[in-house]
């Protein structure tokens, strides 16, 4: 496993990404990762807050469009995250903090289709806010705070 991570880290591409002085290398990928976070988590929270009763005049039917935005943020961060990981695979790959972050993200992302089903059903009936949707919204709010904390701790601890 460590050899695999080392070969990833020592590839010519990782080397370029890590050490190029260009703002289009590492800084651009890091910016995309932050932007993707804002898009994914911001949109999740927007829906969560609506489910929990804020801005009730926003029609739930209009918010079906928010799922596409969440997935856009998710894929931006999956790609940029893999690239960032490649620059320091041996240092980050084995840490509990990084594995913890991935678990938290997995739970957060798994919550998205669950919320969709809880609010919109199979799409044939009207949308409604069920107690299950509320519980999932609270989970989503909290899990993303924890995922952000894990990500920030990776940079500073």
């Amino acid at each position: 496993m460590m050899e695999l991570l080392a070969s990833l880290e020592n590839s010519a591409f990782s080397e370029w990404l890590r050490s190029s002085p260009s703002l289009l290398a590492y800084p651009a990928v890091l910016t995309l990762h932050t932007l993707g976070l804002g898009i994914l988590v911001g949109t999740c929270w927007l829906l969560d807050l609506r489910i929990l009763g804020f801005a009730p005049a926003i029609p739930l039917s209009a918010l079906t469009r928010s799922f596409r935005v969440m997935w856009l943020g998710f894929w931006v961060n999956t790609v940029s995250g893999v690239l960032l990981f490649a620059t320091e695979a041996t240092g980050k790959g084995a840490t509990m903090l990084f594995l913890g972050k991935l678990c938290l993200i997995a739970i957060g992302v798994a919550t998205i289709p669950l919320i969709r089903t809880a609010v919109y059903g199979d799409g044939t009936m009207g949308a409604s806010i069920t107690p299950r949707a509320r519980r999932l919204a609270v989970l989503s709010l909290g899990i993303w705070v924890a995922a952000i904390a894990a990500g920030r701790l990776m940079a500073y601890i």
Partner: protein, 163 residues
Amino acid sequence: MSEHLVTWLKATTLSEMIIGSRWVWPLCETLHFVGLALLLGTAGLFDLRLMGFLRGVPIAAVMRMRIWAAVGVLINLVTGTIFFIGAPGQYVGNRAWWAKLTFLLIAMLNVAVFETRHGKALLTLPPEADTPLSYKIAGVVSLGSWLAVLYFGRMLPFLGDAF
């Protein structure tokens, strides 16, 4: 002038507490990113509707969500101030920081001007209606300047030498 400010700030107990603690900085970083996501999600929705997207969503309804954008801005102003008090030296000479502050000012002025000029008229816009050009411009300026704030925040260590 700025050198005196940096020296004075660095000598304060508060500054020493922020830098001396193992947890204050990462905790504030976490909150700063929470504020970022909150702001981008809720202000983004409002800005997109101002630009004329998301027809069917009444602007008056979206405005209720703006309180969370304000919460996000407030969290980030407080945590940002803490970063500045902790390590003023890495910001005052950093051109990315000045760019970030400039776009922050533009974003805030844009909200203030838009609110005074169109705050009332906004509430009567029908849900399906397109928005006038002045709303669209305000939406583009808002979203554009918040994204610029994010970009220059991320560039603090690359255009300057912040950690």
